[in-house]
């Protein structure tokens, strides 16, 4: 069987329209407790067969928010009768007719040049009910940056931080004491996201389990969105969050590592894993987004030397695109073995040190605060050694992998070494020596010619 045969067949495996439609109905209804569908890792229980009739569709009642360009809309919600308070927002429009239309539970009135929407406040009990019980979560997560990433790519540029909550009941009560009204998802997305090339970037929200509290003051849970009825309360929400959310130790370290990204770097390094050991030189120019590295050592089952150049101004390491990088591998006698052009964010790990110092920082940041499988940071300690800050901690994930990290930062939060153990076994170490960070008169040789040269060799290698 050829690789492309396998992939071709897989590509043709798609959900049928019938299946898709039925599932969308089920997933739009209220969920039904399904003991038989509990997650199982043991592989001992036999999954039930599909039975559509088991899941009687329960029509979800959605109240449409009225609104139209150039028109005016008065929306009267009927789902909560016990809340008398209203707010008004206005926008201008050219509509010149007045009409009254009643559709279902929504009444629209279109007037002249100025339109207005009367917004009904939701009861505080509705807002309180959005919050999960305290025992259901341990941390609040803040997320900002790209909301999704192309398949198969690593995601950089995303910021995740974890917070401990101080006085959760106080937080809930303060938030619920604000007058809230429902708003549309479109309004929230318009305010909270923006486009950057092909990516949709989120300005950030705090997540308490499935409740999202946007830093700008919106709330979202499930398909419902809320905003303060009064403009002044947007900033009050932000103040409440600041008062009750405290950055945890791991996220504080992640902040330091992130801020320690150098403007430039000139250093010697040593790198080792259980399978490879190498040492060499790094020259990094953050302004031009380029880096040159050399390395010699035991790599990929043999003694090798590598030369790597990240294309000047070629790419953006804050996004999935990564920076195009050319890598040349030679044997100990200097004979050419192979050349390759790749993007780090594609996850290539063919030759070490085919990583970038910048990405090393980002990977560690990810390990601490993102991590797949809800990784937690535990046993966090801090000490000082030769004027540097040494942080040690363990990471635990739900997949029960145990990582042990020792990270050393200089006084300006530049990472100068890290050592990682996984499940008790040595996994990786990286150390800078003779390092110079952020030199004022830093200059870097022009390696663009080298990039082109290696890229050409890579093309030849590909066509062999």
């Amino acid at each position: 069987m050829e690789h492309n045969e396998y992939n071709d067949l897989m590509k043709r495996i798609k959900c049928t329209d019938e299946f898709r439609s039925e599932m969308q109905k089920k997933l739009s209804s209220e969920p039904i407790a399904m003991e038989s569908y509990e997650d199982s890792v043991s592989g001992t229980d036999i999954a039930p067969k599909r039975s559509w009739t088991r899941y009687a569709a329960m029509a979800a009642a959605f109240v449409l928010v009225c609104g139209s360009v150039g028109g005016a809309a008065y929306a009267f919600r009927q789902h909560d009768k016990n809340q008398p308070s209203h707010g008004i927002s206005a926008s201008t429009g050219p509509a010149a007719v007045t009409e009254l239309t009643e559709v279902s539970d929504t009444t629209e009135v279109t007037t002249g040049a100025t339109s207005a929407t009367i917004m009904e406040a939701v009861p505080s009990s509705t807002i309180l009910a959005l919050f999960p019980d305290a025992h259901e979560f341990s941390k609040v997560q803040f997320r900002s940056g790209p909301t999704m990433v192309p398949q198969g790519k690593l995601l950089y540029g995303k910021k995740i931080r974890k917070y401990d909550v101080v006085d959760y009941d106080g937080l809930k009560n303060k938030i619920a004491s604000i007058e809230w009204t429902e708003c549309s998802e479109d309004e929230v997305m318009e305010k909270e996201t923006f486009n950057d090339n092909e990516l949709v970037i989120s300005s950030g929200s705090y997540n308490i389990l499935t409740l999202n509290i946007y830093a700008d003051g919106y709330l979202n849970k499930g398909g419902k969105y809320y905003k303060p009825l009064n403009e002044a309360d947007f900033s009050n929400v932000s103040n409440i969050l600041t008062e009750h959310f405290v950055l945890d130790e791991g996220s504080a370290l992640a902040d330091m590592i992130s801020s320690g990204l150098p403007k430039n770097l000139d250093a010697d390094y040593t790198f080792s894993t259980p399978y490879e050991t190498s040492s060499g030189k790094i020259v990094y120019d953050g302004e031009k987004n380029t880096m040159y590295m050399t390395g010699e050592g035991s790599m990929n089952n043999g003694e090798k030397s590598v030369e790597m150049i990240m294309k000047p101004d070629g790419g953006n390491y804050d996004t999935w695109k990564g920076a195009p990088t050319a890598l040349k591998v030679s044997d100990t006698a200097g004979n050419h073995e192979s050349s390759l052009v790749y993007s780090y964010s594609n996850g290539i790990l063919e030759y070490q040190p085919s990583f970038h110092y910048v990405y090393l920082l980002k990977d560690i940041e990810r390990d601490i605060v993102e991590g797949e499988n809800n990784r937690e940071v535990v046993d966090f300690t801090q000490s000082e050694e030769n004027g540097n800050k040494v942080y040690s901690f363990r990471t635990l994930s739900m997949l029960e992998t145990d990582g042990k990290y020792t990270i050393t930062l200089d006084q300006n939060d530049h990472l100068i070494s890290c050592e990682i153990y996984s499940n008790g076994s040595f996994a990786m170490s990286f150390k800078l020596e003779n390092y110079k960070f952020d030199t004022e008169d830093f200059t870097m040789d022009d390696y663009s010619g080298l990039y082109d040269e290696i890229a050409k060799e890579a093309e030849t290698d590909m066509n062999r």
């Binding site: 045969e5 495996i13 407790a33 599909r50 990433v149 997540n207």
Partner: protein, 166 residues
């Protein structure tokens, strides 16, 4: 981040279906498994950190269910793919497709899952290790043995480590 099951289904239903198909070789079973995965998510919402996290959870859930199917004595097999799907899918499947499906079906799930994740979903060994809770060495070993078992030419020179050329 929209964590709803409906959003997840609309975005990843084909991915989950393919994962299940890659492990069972049966379209009806893959559909059953897909249904279970998303209904479970609907009943027990998860707090996904990212799209990647959501996708990884769905893949993991699908793979776990496939293991269950594989130990079931009642699962349907050996039905030609074109017969299974003739009433549902608009595309046609050749006898060769059925041969491939048979190979998938005969492959132990431990190989089928890593081969699908590596070669079709283009996850790295490291990512698969995290997703399946195995060491990177184990995943690499499974890939190698899976390749031998299938006797298939899955990769061309230059793609051995999953790199995508720029």
């Amino acid at each position: 981040m929209n964590n709803s099951a409906l959003y997840a289904f609309n975005k990843y239903c084909d991915t989950v279906l393919r994962t299940a198909f890659a492990m069972t070789g049966s379209y009806p079973e893959a559909e059953d498994i897909t249904q279970e995965v998303f209904l479970t998510l609907h009943a027990k919402p998860q707090n996904f950190e990212s799209e990647e996290h959501m996708k990884a959870w769905l893949l993991r859930a699908a793979i776990n269910r496939c293991k269950n199917y594989r130990i079931s004595a009642h699962v349907r097999r050996n039905q030609p793919l074109d017969d299974e799907l003739s009433d549902k899918l608009s595309c046609e499947f050749s006898p060769r497709d059925n041969e491939i499906r048979e190979m998938i079906h005969k492959l132990p799930e431990k190989y089928a899952s890593v081969i699908f994740l590596y070669y079709f979903e283009e996850y790295t060994v490291k990512e698969i290790a995290g997703l399946l809770g195995k060491s990177e060495n184990t995943v690499s070993s499974l890939l190698q043995r899976g390749r031998k078992k299938l006797k298939m030419i899955l990769i061309k020179e230059g793609y051995e480590y999953g790199a995508q050329r720029v």
